[in-house]
């Protein structure tokens, strides 16, 4: 059998509401992915360490505690330290729209709020994984550039 998409689903911090994480984990499993679930109350360090050892393609964090700004930036930093930035970080939970935008600028791939159909998450991961195997760097850079250009145009107006 060939390569499977590997996803680590983690619950960082003290928030103990893991229903959502489990729903997502089950959906990804049923979509043919290998899902590593690490359980409740994980630290950012242990999540990144597990992601490195398991050589996952994606880290999905479920955060309902309000600590998303701190946790995501810490995870991204730790990944940088381990030279593992090609691992895509995504998330879900109760995150205000403004924060979502900030986080996506920071380097988080995508955030899924309450009510997101699980198929949307599956499709999004599949698409990214596909893009990654095609041409990893150029695609990402292009995406960033085009975003910047759009912003500038808006300002001029």
């Amino acid at each position: 059998m060939g390569k499977k998409i590997r996803v680590l689903v983690g619950k960082p911090g003290l928030d103990g509401h893991d229903r959502g994480a489990k729903v997502v984990a089950a959906a990804l499993r049923d979509a043919g992915m290998e899902v590593i679930y690490t359980g409740l109350h994980q630290t950012c360090e242990s999540i990144v360490e597990a992601a490195v050892q398991e050589d996952v393609d994606v880290i999905g964090l479920s955060i309902l505690s309000g600590a998303h700004m701190t946790i995501f930036s810490k995870v991204l930093n730790l990944l940088k330290k381990r030279h593992a930035t090609q691992i895509l970080v995504i998330g879900g939970g109760i995150i205000p729209l403004e924060d979502m935008k900030k986080l996506e600028k920071m380097g988080v791939g995508k955030l899924f709020g309450p009510g997101t159909p699980t198929t949307e998450i599956v499709d999004w991961i599949n698409e990214c994984a596909f893009a990654k195997t095609e041409q990893p760097k150029t695609k990402r850079v292009k995406a960033k550039k085009s975003r910047k250009i759009k912003v500038r145009r808006k300002r001029k107006k």
């Binding site: 059998m1 390569k3 499977k4 984990a25 990804l28 290998e34 359980g39 050589d55």
Partner: protein
């Protein structure tokens, strides 16, 4: 070869990426390169029915071995769904004590269609961990029934974990799981029925032919609380010493290598068969004739294999 140096040093990201290559690609080049650095790690297998506490036992055993300053690699296998091809790998949930230990490397594997309790590539992944300088490799199977016995072909010491609900002496006398056990653990020892299961097991094991010099020890544990783990690790250690003392260690490992080579040859022949010997359209014609009962499958199989081996004889 910077990559090889990093791998032999046990640099975790390199080890992880190497495992992915080994797991996903049919290419055996990496394994050929690292094979000479393997053979040093001692392999301990943990198997048993679902929910027996295998992951928790692995966690507890690893913690004990860590205290002795050992380096430990863990491979935890969970089943792949035959329907979706996906898998939920949840063994790490029980191993949070080990998450940040410098000397521990944990890798979850999905069984990917293999039926023997391990994944097809588990043996190869163990080789990578072996080369990366581990002292011990703990391999945890999926939750097994009675005949998923692959683990015994990979490990030096096989630990079978049972729980008080696992059955009576008749279960223990049946062929299968208990036959591969070097050490038996009755976990969840605080539950009712534990002592009577141990009695029944002792009775059943008495009836069995003993391997010379080794009686099958039964250890009672409560893995979540660490009770009995020290004794379990000591028992595994004494099995290791027994193997070395009696010369069985070398003999067993050679037997396993022989099996490994046989498996590889079989695999090669199988893929060769599919690619070259039987072409689909040709086979379809044959199947049509077999369906009409003008040919029979036994004769066809003979004919085709004879053709293959004739080619060999000519050379």
């Amino acid at each position: 070869m910077i990559f090889l140096k990093k791998l032999l040093k046990g640099e975790k990201r390199t080890v992880a990426q190497t495992i992915s290559v080994v797991e996903n690609e049919g290419d055996t080049k990496i394994l050929e390169n690292i094979f000479k650095y393997t053979g040093k790690a001692y392999h301990i297998g943990i198997t048993g029915p679902p929910g027996a506490g295998k992951s928790t036992l692995v966690n507890a055993i690893a913690k004990q071995l860590l205290e002795k300053n050992k380096k430990i690699g863990i491979i935890a296998v969970d089943p792949t769904s035959p329907f979706s091809g996906g898998a939920l790998l949840g063994d790490r949930v029980r191993m949070t004590d080990l998450a940040l230990k410098e000397n521990v490397f944990i890798r979850s594997m999905a069984s990917r269609g293999s039926l023997g309790g391990l994944a097809q590539k588990t043996k190869d992944v163990a080789l990578v961990l072996d080369a990366s300088g581990m002292d011990y490799i703990l391999i945890e199977t999926i939750g097994v029934g009675q005949v998923e016995l692959d683990i015994a072909q990979v490990c030096d010491t096989t630990v079978v974990a049972l729980v008080p609900e696992s059955g009576d002496s008749i279960q223990a006398m049946k062929a299968g799981l208990l036959e591969i056990a070097d050490v038996i653990v009755v976990n969840k020892g605080d539950r009712e029925g534990c002592d009577s299961l141990i009695m029944e097991l002792k009775f059943a094991l008495d009836l069995r032919q003993q391997k010379a010099g080794w009686h099958y020890p039964i250890v009672k544990t409560i893995a979540t609380e660490g009770v009995g783990i020290e004794e379990l690790v000591a028992t595994i250690q004494s099995h290791k010493e027994y193997l070395k003392r009696s010369g069985r260690f070398e003999k067993d490992r050679k037997e396993k290598l022989k099996l490994h080579i046989h498996e590889l040859i079989e695999e090669k022949i199988k893929s060769h068969l599919k690619e070259f010997v039987i072409k689909d359209d040709e086979l379809e014609k044959i199947i049509n004739r077999v369906y009409e009962r003008k040919l029979n499958p036994y004769h066809i199989a003979d004919e085709i294999t004879n053709k293959i081996f004739k080619v060999r004889e000519d050379v």
